[in-house]
Assembly symmetry: C2
Homo-oligomer: 373 residues x 2
């Protein structure tokens, strides 16, 4: 075996379901010299990163930090810390990521009570309330805020209200929502949230910001069984990420990825969270009008459509793979394929974070027009 060549990737425009385009500012920040994970200067950066994440989540939760792994690990971190074996959890399923939550709940020896709705539609509040009424021993309600597989926004505020009403914790997948649409952790009284770095925050993939309410922390601290994963046990991680005093080594933090996250959060703060949501909405309007002009139809009703993830029906007779191949080859443009039930039936056009700008939308529409003509 000879040494292979350096890897010089082309400059794609990433308009799929994530990762989204990463700003050169973030890439540059990430390439700065590595510090030790217990270096006092790195500890300061951790504190600043926590503050910025609190801003992004609209929370004052003390336990707010990035899990050192992708969103799927953030999902496990939230579920495995809050739920003990044998406990019952209502899980709302209307796409791939709801199903993934079910799979996680089962693997930790807990019992999912599944509330299912069709792909492309919202989770039914009535069904959720019926499930909460039917079982008196539900400890948590878990759902996906922005379902990346379908482009549907579930009504997080109303769902969390139901959770409070029925005295159970709420666990919210905000992987694709954080930074893209309104999410108000404290106001909506959410108990645990996990997100991803590579969606509307436009950071590199590999981190999962999480936040836990005081109720959630109380539950974690009063568990009678250990969290199944040592790596994801918040009781231990808090010794490293927690406020004040001496930081205890738990695992080696992905130092350079945290430089990147910090820079992407700085960009969010500079723009302002509400302005960022509005930019996603504006981008969506531009894209939706352009798609309509091309005769393409969105799969999700306007009332609960995600601006940052546009699910487009593939017209009859059009070759899904060939169109995406052409976009990639001729325009260096990535859009997403359908997942699960939607495979072969839809494209997923992401307008996330740094990628959500008129230039990219113009380019995407023009490239789609070429590929379809």
């Amino acid at each position: 075996m000879t040494t292979p060549s350096p890897f010089i990737p082309p400059e794609r425009t990433l308009m799929g379901p994530g990762p989204s385009d990463v700003s050169p500012r973030v890439l540059n920040a990430m390439a700065r010299p590595t510090l030790g994970h217990l270096d006092p200067l790195f500890i300061e950066l951790m504190d600043e990163t926590k503050s910025l994440l609190q801003y992004a989540f609209k929370t004052s939760n003390a336990l707010t930090m990035p899990v050192s792994a992708p969103g799927s690990a953030g999902m496990e971190a939230c579920l495995a810390n809050l739920i003990e074996p044998g406990e019952k959890v209502v899980v709302c399923v209307n796409g791939v990521f709801g199903s993934r939550m079910v799979e996680n709940v089962k693997r930790m020896g807990a019992e999912p009570v599944i509330v299912e709705d069709p792909w492309g539609q919202q989770t039914s509040l009535q069904k959720v309330e019926d499930a909460l009424k039917a079982h008196s021993d539900i400890v948590a309600l878990a759902f996906v805020h922005a379902e990346t597989s379908t482009g549907v926004r579930n009504d997080a505020q109303a769902l969390c209200k139901l959770a409070r009403q029925y005295q159970c914790l709420s666990i919210v997948d905000a992987v694709t929502s954080l930074g893209g649409i309104e999410l108000a952790v404290d106001e909506w009284e959410i108990d645990a949230v996990y997100s991803g770095s590579q969606k509307c925050l436009s950071c590199v993939p590999g981190l999962s910001p999480v936040t836990f309410s005081e109720r959630a922390v109380a539950k974690i601290q009063s568990r009678t069984t250990p969290v199944q994963s040592w790596f994801l046990d918040m009781n231990l991680i808090v010794g490293y990420w927690g406020k004040g005093g001496r930081r205890a080594y738990h695992h080696t933090a992905p130092v350079n990825s945290i430089y990147a996250l910090y820079e992407s959060l700085r960009m969010l703060k500079e723009e302002g969270l509400e302005a960022c949501w509005q930019r996603h909405e504006n981008g969506h309007q531009q894209l939706a009008e352009g798609l309509q002009a091309l005769g393409l139809e969105l799969a999700v009703a306007p009332e609960y459509r995600l601006p940052q993830l546009n699910v487009v029906k593939i017209p009859d007779g059009v070759d899904d793979t060939e169109v995406r191949r052409q976009l990639l080859k001729h325009s260096n443009l990535e859009i997403g394929a359908g997942l699960g039930e939607f495979a072969g039936k839809v494209w997923r056009i992401g307008l996330m974070g740094y990628a959500c700008k008129p230039r990219n939308i113009d380019h995407c529409l023009a490239a789609l027009k070429r590929a379809l003509s």
Copy 2:
């Protein structure tokens, strides 16, 4: 809250227990434009990265890849995939990381049979054999090759031979050994190994290269219970990282960190694995002579001392914290504190990967001399 300033870290020399200094080549590679995790060009890079990892591990194992999280998650990936609840595992403990393995084994509902040796000494082959003899139902032998908390090299080759002899799988922590000292996965018939990106590979922290033998894969495929972690389930991950055909989405790979790992592995291949081991040995000799000249003593016997992690006894009357603070402040030099039983008693001087070079060793010795005078 105002937007905080950009984070511009100083250029430290990292000679602690890891992360080690990262080459500018690796940092530059990491800052290249992000590709989608299913982009055909990224899939090619994944294949090349696998080949380079096979080279580094000295294995032809098909299931060789980086876990998308730090070494602690690699530990869980190996243990949780190979061991089912209720099964018995011999775990060798002579430092922090052996204890962490025990903790992991317990949390997955399996039963650790602990073989304990004093900190700073090797795992006793006799004790391990006694444990394997005493229990007829041991499914695996798990141990740490290079114990980062003590600077001890355990005899991986002999331990794996015992595992084969007693028909159980071997699970090896090679976090600090990979690239620094001899490790021959196929020749030693190791069944599962996990490592870390941030030690002798001198890549950024956040990835855990792993490799599984065919025997290990057979065990994973014939499990009667699901792996507790969906995120770390190799049965699923292999659909994304496996050879050939269509790659199925599992989780979003940390794309840019894999650029970095690829570049660090290219550097290893250019130098040559054996030459890299020799460089660590040479660096250790230089450091050991210099420490002796300063009147400092190494805590581990020469026969099983790790060249890449030198554990130095703190002389009586010397203020541990103050010396490390001075090194950091006046020389931008990080060395490691003692962990666990060794806290306050030793320093840990890492000579790992890119950091292991005469210039750094000269600097470290001179800075220590100043700090101690």
